[in-house]
Subunit: 185 residues, 2 copies
């Protein structure tokens, strides 16, 4: 690997990270290339497809989240384990627009490697939810799918409406509170 090529590869990754985070997966690939100070041809030699570049950006963060979910499975306080993870997930999603795109694209395209990672995250959340239910910390009828959709949908909407940080945090609070066990119906 030539030194020049290595430098360009890193510049592309850097540009893609900031650009995808700001504008999501929908930005034209030319914009990323320009941001990196590189021609499109160069970009495509390093990453055979737009999706590949996207995966390179998102997969590591997704893996890290999955790891954090799994780590919390053995925590002492199942309620805190679930809710602290959800808050961590929300903050990640609020900061970087591309996480949603990864999760939504994952829902549609079977082929994407992100899909597996998202599915593994769902399994992790499922365990956290089951544990939290065991100590009556969350409603007994809620599912992991619902929890994921609730958090990601909330963050997506908050981001789209350009709400400020306090609003975003409050919205996550509201969703988490709602998932807790209702005292009496």
């Amino acid at each position: 690997m030539r030194a020049d090529a290595l430098k360009n590869r890193e510049r592309i990754l850097e540009a893609a990270e900031t650009t995808f985070a700001r504008l999501g997966l929908s930005v034209p690939i030319d914009v990323v290339a320009e941001q990196a100070g590189v021609g499109v041809g160069t970009l495509y030699r390093h990453f055979p497809t737009k999706e590949a570049l996207f995966e390179a950006i998102v997969m590591s963060r997704l893996e890290e989240l999955v790891d954090e979910a799994k780590t919390r499975i053995d925590a002492n306080d199942p309620a805190d384990a679930l809710f602290s993870f959800l808050r961590r997930f929300a903050n990640e999603a609020l900061a970087k627009a591309d996480l949603f795109d990864a999760m939504n694209a994952a829902g549609f395209d079977i082929k994407s490697r992100c899909a597996e990672m998202v599915d593994e995250m769902r399994r992790g959340i499922d365990i956290l939810v089951v544990n939290a239910k065991a100590v009556d910390a969350v409603r007994p009828d809620v599912t992991a799918d619902e929890v994921m959709s609730l958090i990601s949908g909330t963050c997506m909407a908050a981001r789209q409406s350009r709400l400020d940080d306090a609003s975003c945090q409050r919205m996550v609070d509201i969703v988490c509170d709602g998932m807790r066990l209702a005292v009496a119906t």
Copy 2:
């Protein structure tokens, strides 16, 4: 107006309503035309632009929602007024994908007439929220913008994940419960 033209106009509206509801604003205009059994040229003579057709479909429903919000302002029970409206809003949004697109497009394009209508809905919800706060039925710190984003984001995510009806209803329940006043922190 020729009889033929009138019939086609209605067929276009009908096709657009079902197609937009199912697939959202992103469906190609050709699909709507084909569904209506009509050429694209005909469609464009009746509606000068895709956005115009979309407005024709969505505006009336949006107006109806705004009316319902305003009607509930004078209700006896402010808490029920707010939450029954939110449930109504959620059901409308869950049934028809185009409502989101209207609201999101409204956020971006100043020009769209939908934007004004969405803004008016926000004002209506704001009053409902203020009234509900007055009787301690919702958290004192939540805003109308947050309420709208919470509901629409939740419905959008539920729809995207193709969750079943029971899940969708439960998610709306969770969000509404979370907005209620926390008993003690």
